[in-house]
């Protein structure tokens, strides 16, 4: 089995038949684990999310990300929304440190306490990358419950497997750029979600916009019918 070197092992064998271009689309299990860097990256979905919320009267937006004062200011200024801050990452991490790493579904269900159909938007950032399928299903179900009809979810999914146990603090710089700052955590990234898995996870919410960005992140905007 390949040790991850381009052109060797299985990838090289496939490349010799032209089935895989050497140096591209190397099978996941051959890829070395990546490291997060604290860089500013482009975002395409954020502008759409803001645009949707600007069209809502007195929107209510739930932010599940790590607390960021500048994000509070940004969303308040751009959307005049009521921003509900619920740092799910920290709650999951606390539970993991306490030894509940195998059963975070209860933590998730207990964390999303908003009434049914009470929110116009939910900002998930990349929290799903840290969840097992059953935990992700619990979070997706909670989001479906609290979203109003025509409500919108923004979720990000990494297409790269990161080695370190870290969260990413997403700090909005403007409508088109977000700074990614690694932050030590107990939880590690669990998996890479395929587009099909994301659609199934959130069904019957419908993908509205999907962007695959150069820095290896997929941004998905979904709407509730």
């Amino acid at each position: 089995m390949s040790n991850g070197e381009e052109g060797s092992g299985l990838a090289g064998w496939l490349a010799s038949f032209g089935l895989v271009r050497s140096g591209r689309r190397v099978p996941l299990w051959t890829q070395p684990l990546a490291a997060r860097t604290g860089d500013t990256h482009a975002t395409r979905a954020l502008r759409h999310l803001v645009g949707i919320l600007q069209g809502v009267d007195a929107p209510v937006l739930l932010d599940l990300g790590l607390l960021s004062g500048s994000n509070v200011t940004f969303f308040g200024r751009e959307t005049s929304c009521r921003l509900v801050v619920n740092d799910l990452y920290s709650e999951l991490d606390r539970a993991a440190r306490a030894g509940y790493a195998g059963g975070l579904s209860a933590v998730i269900t207990g964390a999303i306490t908003q009434p049914d159909a009470s929110l116009d938007g939910v900002l998930c950032w990349d929290v799903f990358d840290y969840l097992e399928p059953d935990e992700a299903a619990a979070l997706a179900a909670a989001i479906r419950r609290v979203l109003k009809p025509r409500g919108v979810v923004l979720a990000m999914f990494s297409t790269v497997m990161y080695e370190a146990a870290e969260f990413t603090r997403y700090t909005v710089e403007d409508l088109d750029h977000i700074r990614h700052t690694p932050q030590p955590a107990e939880l590690k990234q669990r998996r890479i979600w395929s587009s099909r898995d994301v659609v199934r996870l959130f069904a019957p919410l419908v993908p509205d916009e999907t962007y695959l960005l150069k820095h290896g992140e997929r941004e998905v905007l979904l709407r509730k019918a």
Binding site: S68, G69, T73, R82, L83, V84, V85, N86
Partner: protein, 151 residues
């Protein structure tokens, strides 16, 4: 010699009322000057035209109405500020905030909702001559627990 004006304008701007760390108050607290709290307060705090500062040792469990609120300690309860709310590093707020400006420093804790009113929307200024406002100073409408004697 300049004649002194009466009322709040004559007090030096740096003068603030202070509740020390050993003081525990349960009830309604209202006043017409800036207030710094390093003790424990439960109930309701109303400083409509002034600034409430929750000191690093302050532990508040109350509904707060003020012109501005600065939190260096811990506050559990809803905050309604006419101008701004600041949660400083190591400050902690659990509750809903309604204020035109909210600043949360890195290292602060916050859980709740933030409603930053649109510009131009009227806030809730205190009416002049409001009979509810006490004479200058801080009024406490419930008994305060005196400092315990050192054992």
């Amino acid at each position: 010699m300049t004649p002194e004006s009466s009322g709040a304008e004559s007090r030096p701007p740096s003068e603030k009322a202070h509740i020390g760390r050993s003081v525990v108050i349960k009830g309604e607290l209202d006043g017409s000057e800036d207030l710094v709290i390093d003790g424990h307060v439960e109930g309701k705090i109303e400083l409509r035209e002034h600034t409430l500062t929750v000191g690093s040792n302050g532990r508040i469990k109350a509904q707060v109405f003020a012109k501005a609120v600065v939190v260096l300690g811990e506050l559990v309860g809803n905050i309604n500020a006419a101008e701004r709310v600041e949660i400083r590093e190591n400050g902690s707020v659990d509750g809903d905030i309604v204020a035109p400006r909210v600043a949360i420093a890195e290292g602060a804790h916050f859980r709740g909702s933030i409603d930053m009113q649109r510009k131009g929307q009227p806030t809730k200024p205190a009416a002049p001559g409001d009979a509810r406002l006490p004479a200058p100073g801080v009024a406490v409408t419930a008994a305060a627990t005196p400092p315990r004697a050192a054992s």
